[in-house]
């Protein structure tokens, strides 16, 4: 099949520089410094968190769709959070929403997506033996693990986990007397997030260093696959914004435990006036969203990078506008830092600042639009093979359009007056951030599963999984736009207290049922994932006939990735269906001088210069 690639591997294998020293179970699977295993650790932990986070959404969708339902049967699971009369406790509802948001945004779509694929793909695609610092990389996972344990513990304590929304705005999150979740649960939330931030910083430094320093010969920045560009920029965003969240959390810790007044002022609660004066809750909001908005792109960019790669490979076409794609990602990276206050249009912010942030916010829509047009043009006149990964990538582009366009409403400060904190926002971010990134994650898993586990996932199940999930996601989140335009506020346990919000019980029921079906469909994926890991078809060397370097490594790469020398790179990663070429793909490690029949004009010149390196290469191979 992939003739060129196999030839090269064949040569490499003749090398007798053997890497596979025996490793103990612990150093291979647990305290491993191999980026591939660390990637898998992030993936499996992320999937586990995904099950919990989605499970929570099932419980609160039960409440929202069927408010009168008897929940007695959940008592074995939730205990005292089910009231005497068999109803869900309203405070626990808030705790569920908060944990669902925190888990989904940070643990699944930051650690699970970026952690998995940055770790797994960066060394393999840039041609490195491992990350710059394997040890720091290991620490990164284990800090994440500690964070996970702490967050998990908080779910089971008596006063319940944090319950002030995933943004944990003070004073609610600062005052233990305001809500039970702000007692021990909130402390654990803060501790967990501190560990989480440390983990992300350790990982991010590694990704950046590796991309800058460890690229193989010939892998210039203008030849990097878009996946790597996206992981790289994601890490840059994370490195610049997570420390600010750290600061916000630290000040909150001080306010909670040491009597400071960073965020607190003029408060009378529980029958007493607190001594705190001069603080500002708005300060916290600025600090939080300085991370919070870039965070959206931290979960988004890797998904878009994966999509670029999958769509190009499977439509057998170069990604359209490679440089424009990089440019728009750079634009998004920079702009993502100057739009945060669009979450605060009605927080009491100075209206002039509001106008500034409205301008900046709508500017960021432009690079996003460019990306969509480029994806569409990549599909145009392609020869598209619908692997499950392709389907999920196309679905992702659809969500990017749907959710991106509603962003234009919310970025307009006037329209945001009405829509802020309603279900319109819930619809918006679930499409553009939640579902989009989950689809990126799934596309990545389907696409790189053969590399990760040396086996194929079942295609048919993948197809069914896609269609159920794709239709399901639209059936869950599209109706929420109507509910939101009608003004239904979010984080509401029930709407029946208000005449204005008492319609749409039928639509809410429909949404909940759609959610249950969609969640059920995910078991197809779980089954496919774990079953294929052991019983799937054996993967060929290059199952998708792809150009990037990871497919030149052995089917199951050892620690060190390539048994022989690391392949050199001679071209960009998107030489698909090049006119004149024998095959419809030319991998990156094939020298231009070997493909005179398909070289473009400027490549003819390059090919001539290449020869020197080639002979040297040939020598070392004999």
């Amino acid at each position: 099949m992939s003739t060129a690639a196999e030839v090269n591997i064949g040569q490499d294998v003749q090398h007798d520089e053997h890497h596979d020293h025996e490793q103990s179970f612990i150093s291979k699977y647990i305290f491993t410094t191999d980026h591939k295993m660390i990637g898998k650790q992030f993936l499996v932990t992320g999937i586990m968190w995904g099950i919990i986070g989605v499970g929570m959404s099932v419980i609160f969708r039960l409440q929202l769709g069927f408010p009168d339902m008897q929940m007695e049967w959940l008592r074995p699971l939730l205990g005292g959070w089910i009231s005497e009369s068999g109803q869900l406790d309203p405070e626990f509802y808030l705790a569920l929403v908060t944990m669902h948001g925190t888990i989904m945004v940070f643990f699944v779509l930051t650690a699970g997506l970026s952690g998995t694929f940055s770790n797994y793909l960066i060394p393999l695609q840039v041609g490195a033996r491992d990350m710059a610092s394997g040890f720091m990389n290991m620490l990164s996972y284990w800090f994440f693990f500690i964070s996970s344990v702490v967050m998990m513990t908080s779910i089971f304590i008596e006063t319940g986990p944090a319950a002030g929304g995933w943004v944990v705005y003070p004073p609610l999150s600062a005052l233990p007397q305001a809500i039970q979740g702000s007692q021990l649960g909130m402390t654990l939330w803060l501790v967990a997030m501190v560990f989480f931030i440390v983990s992300m910083l350790l990982g991010g430094i590694n990704y950046i260093t590796t991309v800058i320093n460890l690229r193989t010969e010939g892998m210039s920045f203008s030849r990097l696959p878009l996946t790597i560009w996206s992981f790289f920029l994601t890490a840059v965003i994370g490195l610049l914004s997570f420390p600010v969240l750290f600061a916000a959390a630290l000040l909150l810790v001080f306010d909670r435990s040491f009597g400071t007044s960073f965020y607190l002022s003029d408060i009378y609660i529980g029958g007493e006036a607190l001594p705190n004066m001069g603080g500002s809750p708005i300060l916290y909001q600025h600090l939080f969203w300085f991370l919070g908005h870039p965070e959206v792109y931290i979960v988004l960019l890797p998904a878009l990078g994966i999509t670029s790669e999958v769509i190009a490979t499977n439509s057998r076409k170069p990604i359209f506008g490679y440089r424009a794609m990089i440019g728009s990602m750079l634009g998004i990276t920079v702009l993502s830092f100057v739009v945060w206050a669009h979450h605060m249009f009605v927080s009491g912010l100075n209206p002039f600042l509001g106008s500034v942030f409205m301008f900046l916010t709508l500017i960021i829509a432009i690079p996003s639009a460019v990306k969509v047009f480029n994806y569409l043009t990549t599909l145009w006149k392609g020869n598209i093979i619908f692997t499950p990964a392709t389907l999920f990538s196309i679905g992702l582009v659809s969500f990017f359009i749907s959710g991106g366009l509603t962003g234009i409403f919310l970025g307009n400060s006037v329209i945001d007056i009405q829509l802020h904190d309603t279900y319109f926002v819930v619809a918006h971010f679930h499409l553009v951030m939640g579902s989009l990134s989950v689809f990126g994650l799934l596309a990545g898993v389907y696409h790189w599963f053969p590399k990760m586990f040396g086996r194929m996932m079942d295609e048919k199940l993948g197809h069914i999984h896609f269609w159920m999930t794709f239709i399901g996601v639209y059936m869950i989140f599209f109706p929420m736009h109507y509910i939101g335009i009608a003004g239904f506020p979010r984080r509401y346990y029930s709407w029946t207290n208000f005449d204005a919000f008492s319609a749409y019980t039928d639509l809410n029921m429909f949404v909940s049922i759609a959610a249950f079906v969609t969640v059920a469909a995910q078991f197809l994926f779980l089954f496919n994932f774990f079953y294929s890991m052991y019983r799937g078809k054996k993967a060929p060397q290059n199952p998708w006939r792809s150009n990037t370097l990871e497919w030149t490594a052995p089917i199951i790469p050892e620690h060190g990735n390539w048994p022989g020398e690391i392949p050199k790179v001679y071209r960009w990663p998107y030489d698909y269906s090049k006119p004149g070429a024998k095959e419809d793909f030319i991998p990156q490690h094939i020298p231009l001088s070997q493909t005179p029949e398909s070289n473009l004009e400027h490549e003819v010149e390059l090919a001539k210069k290449e020869v020197v390196g080639k002979t040297a290469d040939a020598k070392s191979n004999t």
Binding site: S265, Y268, S280, M358, I366, N412, G487, Y576
Partner: protein, 344 residues
């Protein structure tokens, strides 16, 4: 027993599904089509995109038209109509882009699905196209932003001199309202003197506070500017009056405000909607704890004359709670007695 039966049923179902899966994958191995691109399933997936496009496209238009009156709340404020205008302009622009791009996405997916013996077009870039689709959205967005910005500066402009100041205070889990009384000026407050009766923390050192009243019901006049002076006593809350297209956070330690003009009385709205029970409502849209979902305040919009009448009838806080006279500094006692109307 019943649970057991359900459990068994589920297990059985899963077993059957698993069997089907095994058999079908064994068949595909036997057929030996493992390495070929499966054109049959490729065709089905391609066709599904068209089915999806048509199906959901139909649902989207049908539901949007059918439900229009249900999700589009009637407008009852001056700036509300401007909001509506902006909202629907944005809807029109994004709607066109939405339909067009989704159509292209699914159409291309179907049209350019894999065919043996065809080769994709090698088409890596076209700078002219990139420039066009950077500039066109930029211009469209600039227009949207600019119209938005003009309305925004209008809405957030400082309140006019003659506005009706009303204070709304959020606390766990209700709203309190305070009117300035006949002097038209809200008296100072101090959170340190709050207790059960003086729940606003009215500061009796300030003359302006003596005629302030805290009514049972909230009224506002139609056709006159009204300013909500918004604050919170404990945690964040947010005042949301959907029919007025009004929302503003209530922040402890940082007073906020929102000025608007109501255009329809409660009575008029009842007639328009043909619903004699209708009332304007204020909800809380910033999570504030257990009772967040029940922080309701009913708001009545009157004709200006009715409003004046109602306003004049209200008794000041001090008159209703004369024990607080003891908090009034001696030199101001007389003023207090006069302003509250306790002695005349």
């Amino acid at each position: 027993m019943f649970n057991l039966a359900i459990g068994l049923g589920v297990v059985l179902l899963l077993a059957i599904l698993f069997l089907i899966f095994r058999i079908s994958s064994l068949i595909s191995v036997a057929k030996g089509n493992t390495n070929k691109i499966e054109t049959s399933s490729n065709k089905i997936n391609g066709a599904m995109f068209i089915v999806f496009l048509v199906g959901t496209g139909f649902l989207f238009f049908w539901y949007s038209f059918k439900e229009f009156d249900n999700y589009n709340l009637p407008v009852a404020s001056e700036h509300g109509s401007e909001y509506e205008f902006l909202f629907w302009i944005t809807m029109a622009v994004t709607g066109v882009v939405f339909v067009l791009t989704q159509f292209l996405l699914f159409y291309f997916s179907w049209k350019y699905q894999y065919k043996e013996n065809t080769k994709a077009l090698f088409y890596p870039e076209n700078n002219k196209l990139e420039i066009i689709w950077t500039f066109v959205p930029a211009v469209v967005l600039a227009i949207l932003v600019f119209t938005g910005w003009r309305v925004w500066t209008d809405i957030t402009a400082p309140a006019p001199e003659n506005t009706n100041n009303i204070e709304i205070m959020g606390y766990q889990f209700a709203w309190g309202v305070r009117y300035p009384g006949l002097d038209g000026e809200l008296g100072n407050t101090d959170y340190r003197v709050i207790e059960a009766t003086n729940s606003f923390g009215i500061d009796f050192n300030d003359k302006a506070s003596y005629d302030d009243f805290i009514p049972r019901e909230m009224h506002i006049p139609k056709g006159e500017p009204v300013t909500f002076n918004i604050r919170a006593r404990d945690v964040l809350h947010s005042v949301f009056a959907p029919h007025f297209r009004l929302k503003m956070d209530a922040v402890p330690g940082m007073p906020t405000s929102f000025t608007f003009t109501a255009t329809k009385t409660t009575e008029e709205m009842r007639e328009e909607l043909n619903d004699p029970e209708f009332n304007y409502e204020i909800a809380c849209t910033e999570v504030c704890g257990r009772g967040h979902y029940s922080m309701k305040l009913t708001l009545i919009v009157d004709e200006p004359e009715e409003y004046m009448e109602w306003y004049a009838e209200q008794e000041s806080f001090l008159k209703r709670n004369p024990e607080y006279l003891s908090k009034v500094p001696t030199e101001l006692k007389e003023v207090a007695l006069l302003k509250t109307g306790i002695e005349n």
